[in-house]
Each structure stands twice: as structure tokens, then as C-alpha cells.
Symmetry: C2
Subunit: 490 residues, 2 copies
């Protein structure tokens, strides 16, 4: 990897793309807007999936699988939903190709036209609630707590690897409840699950809150979100949890017999995170040398690199490295020994730095004599010589420190770059300065739009925490019930 990454200061967006491509995380495919997730990138996503899946199961959810295709008419059944999702999507009109009668290749067979077009799912509320009608008869069938891991497609004109792609991978939870209170509690609970995952696993601090009406999910009565601050000061919506009220139950006629013999519409939630989290992870922690991974999600927590000259040294040192590898493995550490003789150790150092492996353990001839190794932290880029005796314990505690330190650093950055402002001039300056801005807003969509047009900042959320005393709108001067969080966003 002789190639140097574009520094963040020079071109943040190019830096991001360089990391994704050079660290072998993903690449664009020849299919417009669709990415290929490469093995190393997919291994990180697999770790994320595994952890999240465990958290969903702990909170009582089961996985299931629903069709990829949605009949076009389903999208129209929920009035708001169709506005949000029935526009930019992949439409299947035919089910057969045939040999081209006029030449080479294959052409669409005009005789194989579908009676009703199918849409590749952009999200699955409609197909799932159409199914729930058959699953839910009585209060005994509730709550129904289902999650799906799936691919979805939203036709995007401008795409960026992981952040916005036409096809992406995600999970979508879809739950059904007997009461409004229970559905609202579920909505909140799953947001807390996402926040916990972001902070404790991704080392990415988040702000929790409610979306404004104009930013809600199409068909939701309330959308909760977690927002993270990227290193360029922009916000990234990292997960959402929606309270859907009875909208989808009404649209798909899903009623249940209550305990006292009545019939009521079912209450719904949905919630999701996607491969977009990969983008959030990269932009929160990485640096100009490449990816920085939180140990808890790193496919490789520690890499061992032997340093030697000549065959004799190699054999002796590699043998010692194998011992260390076995030692760390048995301590439950995800370790890799790179003893590929065809690559120089300098190349390996750069490679694992680029790939964000949290710890590097180098063993050279002197180490062999002294019973030591060189331990290098990826996050701080600091090195120290350490005894091989008790190394597994030290490695584990250092990994724990890295995890904690990464979170603390990101948390400090978030705090330091979040400001309260009270005037329009201060507001514009703070947004220009890439801050998270807590400011008063009069609660109207008009003012929200105006601010967005003039500053490119949007209301990220009505934060759960922070100052909620009334004041005066920073833009209109009208009364404001509380401060809300503004920022430019991905």
C-alpha cells in the first residue's frame, strides 16, 4: 500500500472514499448505485449483525423472512407511505427473457408481462402488515415481535459507498401490539438498543431524540433517532425507531379480539439500521493513516508480525510468534499471525494500520533474546516494549482501554462541538463552523424549511436530554417551546 490516503484536511469526502476502497471494505459495482462489500468490510458488518441480533433476541424478538417483491398496489394502501416510498424504486414488469430474434443476446419477452408490476422492497411495512392480518386474531397473538435481516432497494441518483447506495443491507423490526402505550414503549426500547450498540460497541456517541414532523418516516406518527457527529462536524442519522400508530393496521385491516370481546386495530412499530453504520463507524474513528476500528467490532483485534533476516531467524521467530498466537487465541482474542514471507514487515505495518487493526505485536531477534515484543496501538499510534510473560492479559486490557478511549475522544469532540446560540448571526456562524447547534425554533415547518434553505442545516432531532425551557425562535422571533438540535447532515 504505497498509496497515501488523501488527508482529511484536504478533502474529507475523498479521504472517506479512499479509506473504503484502500482498506478493502467496499467498491462500486458496474450496476449503477450498487456496491460490492468486500470480505474485510463484510467481516465488520457480520460482527455488527451478530451483536445486534443478540440484542434483538435478548429483548424477545425472533427473525423471519418476507418476500423481496411487493405488489405495486400495496404501496398505495397507506397514504403517507406511498408518498415516501413509491417513487424511486426498482420496478419489475416482466418475468422472462428470450433469444433476440434480430441478433445476438437476449431481449425482454413481451409475452411475459406481469399483470401487476412488482416493486423491489424499499422497506417492508406493507408486505409484512398484509401478512400480519393472517397471523393476528386475538390479544393472545400479541405482542408480535419480529425482525428481518434483508437487502432493500431505493433508487438513488447520487450514491456514496455505505452512506447511500441503491441496494443496501439492513435489519427491519416490525412489531404489533395491543395498546398504544406498549407500542410506544417498544419504539423507545429499540432506540435505546441502537444507542447502546452505537456507544458501547461502535465507540460512537449519539444524541437521541424525536424527529420533527417533516422528517418522520412516511407513515409514522413519531420517529425516534440516534444522531452521531462525524469528524467534519456533520450529523449522520445512524438508526431510527418508528411509532406507526394504527396506520398500517388500518391500511391492511389488521384487527384483534380484545380480552373483553371487542375488536380493535393493532398498534405498530418499525425500526432499522443498515450498512450505513459502516460509513458512520469509519467517519467517527478513522484518521489520515486509515481505518481505526473499535476492538469489539474488529475482525482482527491483534496482528502478530515477525521481524527477521534470513531463513534461520525466520524459523525461530515465527515459531515464537505461533506460541504467542496460540496463547492469545486461548484467551479468546481474535488474533492473526501474518508470517507471509513474500511481504516485507514494513508493508505489513502499513497494511494493518490502513485496515485499522487495533493492536500490532512485532517480534524481532532482540525480542527473542529478551523475551519481549513491541506492542503498537493503532488509535494513539504509540509503541512500547512489553514482556511476553503475561502478554494475553495485557493485550486484553489494552484492547479494553482502546475501546474506552475511542469513545471518550469521540464523546469529547461531540461535547466541544455542540453549542447553544440565541441569535440568527450566531446561528449562521456556528453552522458555518460545522457545529451541532442547540437553538430555539418556533415549531413550524415553514421556519424549518427556511433555515434549511438558508444554511443547509436541518433539525436533527428534538433531543431527549438538554435544555427544554421555552424561548424565542432564532429565525422568526416567535415563541419557541424548547431548543432543538440543528446541524448539516449526511
Amino acid at each position: 500500500m504505497a498509496k497515501k490516503l488523501t488527508p482529511r484536511s484536504e478533502d474529507y469526502s475523498k479521504w472517506y472514499n479512499d479509506i473504503v476502497v484502500d482498506a478493502d471494505l467496499a467498491q462500486h459495482s458496474d450496476v449503477k448505485g450498487c456496491m460490492v462489500i468486500k470480505p474485510y468490510g463484510y467481516a465488520i458488518w457480520e460482527r455488527m449483525k451478530e451483536v445486534l441480533d443478540g440484542m434483538f433476541k435478548e429483548t424477545g424478538h425472533s427473525n423471519a423472512y418476507f418476500p423481496l417483491f411487493i405488489p405495486k398496489s400495496y404501496l398505495s394502501k397507506e397514504a403517507d407511505h406511498v408518498e415516501g416510498f413509491a417513487k424511486e424504486c426498482a420496478v419489475i414488469t416482466h418475468y422472462r427473457l428470450k433469444n433476440n430474434p434480430d441478433g445476438d443476446g437476449v431481449v425482454v419477452d413481451p409475452d411475459a408481462k406481469l399483470e401487476e408490476e412488482l416493486i423491489v422492497r424499499p422497506t417492508s411495512e406493507t408486505i409484512i402488515w398484509n401478512t400480519y392480518r393472517k397471523w393476528i386474531q386475538s390479544y393472545r397473538d400479541l405482542p408480535l415481535l419480529i425482525n428481518q435481516w434483508a437487502n432493500v432497494v431505493r433508487w438513488e441518483m447520487r450514491t456514496r459507498l455505505f452512506l447511500r447506495t441503491t441496494e443496501f443491507l439492513w435489519q427491519e423490526g416490525h412489531t404489533a401490539h395491543a395498546t398504544q402505550a406498549e407500542a410506544e414503549e417498544e419504539t423507545r426500547q429499540m432506540l435505546e438498543v441502537y444507542a447502546k450498540f452505537a456507544e458501547e460497541w461502535m465507540a460512537m456517541p449519539v444524541v437521541k431524540g424525536n424527529k420533527t414532523e417533516s422528517e418522520r418516516f412516511a407513515g409514522a406518527l413519531d420517529t425516534l433517532c440516534i444522531e452521531a457527529m462525524m469528524q467534519d462536524g456533520k450529523a449522520l442519522q445512524a438508526g431510527t425507531s418508528h411509532f406507526l400508530g394504527q396506520n398500517f393496521a388500518r391500511a391492511f385491516d389488521v384487527k384483534f379480539a380484545t380480552k373483553d370481546g371487542g375488536q380493535e386495530l393493532v398498534w405498530a412499530t418499525s425500526w432499522g439500521v443498515s450498512t450505513r453504520l459502516m460509513g458512520a463507524l469509519i467517519m467517527t474513528l478513522s484518521d489520515d493513516q486509515g481505518l481505526v476500528l473499535p476492538p469489539k467490532l474488529a475482525p482482527i483485534e491483534a496482528v502478530i508480525v515477525p521481524i527477521y533476516k534470513g531463513q534461520d531467524q525466520m524459523e525461530e521467530i515465527v515459531a515464537k510468534c505461533r506460541e504467542i498466537e496460540a496463547d492469545l487465541k486461548s484467551a479468546g482474542i481474535r488474533v492473526k499471525l501474518d508470517d507471509d514471507d513474500a511481504k516485507r514487515s514494513g508493508w505489513k505495518f502499513a497494511e494493518y494500520e490502513l485496515k485499522g487493526v487495533p493492536l500490532r505485536i512485532a517480534v524481532g531477534p532482540r525480542d527473542l533474546e529478551n523475551g519481549t515484543c513491541e506492542l503498537a496501538r493503532r488509535d494513539t499510534r504509540t509503541k512500547s516494549f512489553e514482556p511476553l510473560e503475561g502478554l494475553a492479559t495485557l493485550v486484553r486490557s489494552t484492547l479494553n482501554s482502546i475501546q474506552t478511549d475511542l469513545f471518550s475522544t469521540a464523546k469529547s469532540r461531540l461535547s466541544e462541538n455542540t453549542v447553544e446560540v440565541d441569535t440568527w448571526d450566531e446561528f449562521k456562524a456556528a453552522i458555518k463552523d460545522s457545529k451541532f447547534v442547540m437553538a430555539h425554533w418556533d415549531g413550524t415547518a415553514e421556519t424549518e424549511d427556511l433555515i434549511s434553505q438558508q444554511t443547509k442545516a436541518s433539525i436533527r432531532c428534538l433531543t431527549f436530554e438538554g435544555d427544554t425551557t421555552p424561548g424565542t425562535c432564532v429565525k422568526s422571533g416567535n415563541p419557541s417551546p424548547r431548543r432543538v438540535l440543528f446541524a448539516k447532515a449526511y
Copy 2:
């Protein structure tokens, strides 16, 4: 579950469908040919995935993810492949809907027509080999050992839950090698992985062999397969592993620099199993009372059912059941305590029998006095009273016995129903009698077709094991190099 399953003897195919639906494994969706995999069915598939994924990783493979969509022209690049796959598939022609100008709902926007149509992947060789061209430059980049877990779509006119659906879930391995020998070894290795999984995890004995030329994967030089015998005597192809030669490398121009500085085309394999395995699992082991699951793949290995009358008894007995549950859990057994007071124990017995839970532990008032429980095996439907003392050890060993016994039973059925025949009359009788038939074949596609037309039996494979001495074709009377396996098949 008052409803009784259709017995196998009455209507085997209806019996199968009853189990899938009544045991809550899957159901048809409103989208033609697409199924919904319900939580209980998905939990079994998840176990299968987890085990297989571990086996792939142990043999050095990594997961990655490639686009759902394939440009139409890609399918035409490999001449045989297009014949096999470019026919019945979902074709995306447009990327936008718009509000219907003439009325309700949404319609396809004629202005959003794709320049080149996209196909929803029926299999991913083309898109993957188009990507491999960028990944492979030198012999150092080989072997490339990749697997993908994905959904695929093949437009089917006649569908059956799990066995043949328009959309299904699968894994597809796609590997690239420097030499023919290495690719052939990989093809064989992955077939062995599938056979091991089928026999040791699914308790489903399989016959391994090569497909005939007419049954090969479109684009392969050789297709290896595992074939299992269902209880009706029909064969089910449960997994395939293909040696693709240099066909896809040639079609997508994937060359590598050899050690001595030359340029050569890369050698390829691909291999896959799908949710079809769920159908194979059901039809191999289940009975007229419902699903029978091999303990190793059962989401619940043992269910505990308290038997009581009245509140006082309930509390005491449920408390004891909780102790047992904790005990079994800590022994690593996937156990469920069903203490739902709203359902009768008789209902529960029938329910878990239907769902194939391998062991049932019932605890009643007498058991409480005696320190015993009733242990019931799902496979043999035998019951015994057992002491609670040391129960976890007994449960584990009984689960092991069930796993072994299920395999032995299926293995005996396979042996007993596999026959060698030497005359055409014997052949017809044996096929009519739903046997696996080892018979001589002259090696021509004409004879293969003729036999298939007259008896509906196809050549399942040229078995790896068994008699390979030459003889005389059972149909044509021409010389035959060896016996091959014939059967009717799913």
C-alpha cells in the same frame, strides 16, 4: 392444534404441505411463488446457516456481498449459462413510479426506463466474475475463496414451499484458483462439506456423485451433487458443487500473472445449498404426527411442560420446572419452559409434537413427590419416568441417541430401498416401486432421455461409491462403462 395432518399414506404431498403450514415453518405470500418463512422455520434455517458458515470458514472461505441486480448483457457472456438462466427471471425495466394521472394509485413512469434492463440474480457467477477481473492480477491473489449468503430469484410456474419457490435463500460459494487440479480439489472438498452437514447435522444420509452432462449446471464442466432419499422413495438433490473450468474467466477476461511471468486464465468453482434443505429435512425425518427435528438443528432441544390442577399445585410445580430449566440451560441444552397457564397441557403436548421438539419433559404432582419426571422422545414416541437427579446428563445423552438413531433409520431405509437391476422389466418395476435403482446405462443423452420419458426416472448421479464394473445398458443393450443411480426426483 385440533387439526390432524393428512397421513403420508393418503397423500404424501399434502402431508408435506400440512407440516410446513401447521408447524409454522412457512406459508405462501400474496406475491406469486414467493414464501414467507415464519419465525420457527427461520430459526431452523438460522441454525443451518450458522453451522454451514462455520464449516466454510474452517475451510478458509470468507463472506462477501455482491449486487442483487445483474445487467442483462452479462448473462449472455457465457454461452451455456445464458441458456440455463436467462429465461425465467425477474426483469427490471423502470426505476420510478408516479401518481396515476388518470385516477388512483401509482403507475410506472414511462420516462424512467432503464437503458439496459436489470435481472434479479438467479445465481451470481456473472456479476462475481466481472468483479474478480479487478481483484485478480497475480498468482499471489489466488486462491480466492469467497462465499455469499443471499436471496435469489428464478421465476417458477409451479411452486412448493421450500422445495421450489420463485425467491429463495441460499449460499453461493465462488472460488478462483491458479490450477485445474486445485479447482477440482475445491469442488470435491465442498461436496464433502455438504455431505458431512447433511449426514452429521441433518441426520440425512446422502449419495455422492457426478451429474451426467445433461444435468450439469449451465456453464460447468462437471457438477458434483449429494442426493437424498425422501420417505416416498423420491430423490432430492440437496447440494451441488461445480467445477467451472475456465469458462467464466474466459467470458469475463480474468487472467493472472503466473510465477514464471506468463498470463493464464483463472480456474473456477461454485457451490450452493438453499432453503430447499428445509424441505429435505422435513421429508426425510418427519411422521404423521408432524415435524421430527434432529437435535443438533432443533431451535428447542427439550421442552418442559408442567402438569397441575389449581393455583397451589401450579406454583410449586412451575418452581420445580424452573429449576430443571436452569439446570439444563447451564448444561448448554436449548430448553424451553412452557408455563403458559392459558393453554392445557394436552394442547402443549400436541403442539410440541407437531413442531418436532426432540424431547419433552413433563412434571406433575406425583413427580414432585417422587423426584421424577416423564421423559418423552419425539422420534420413537416412547416415554419413561426418570429421576430429576442427573437429568441434564440423561437429556444430553438421549439427544445424542436421537441424533444417531434418526440417521441410522434413514440410512437403513436408503440401503433397503436401493436395488441393482439388470433388465428393462426389472428396471420399470423397481422405479414404479419407488426405489433408488443402480443400473447400467450406455452413456448417451438419447438413452437418458428415453428412460426419463418412459419411466419419469432420471439419472441422479454417477455415484462415487458402488459397483463400477462394465456391463450392458438396461435400455439400449449397448455396452455400459458402469452402473449409475436412477430415481424419480423432486
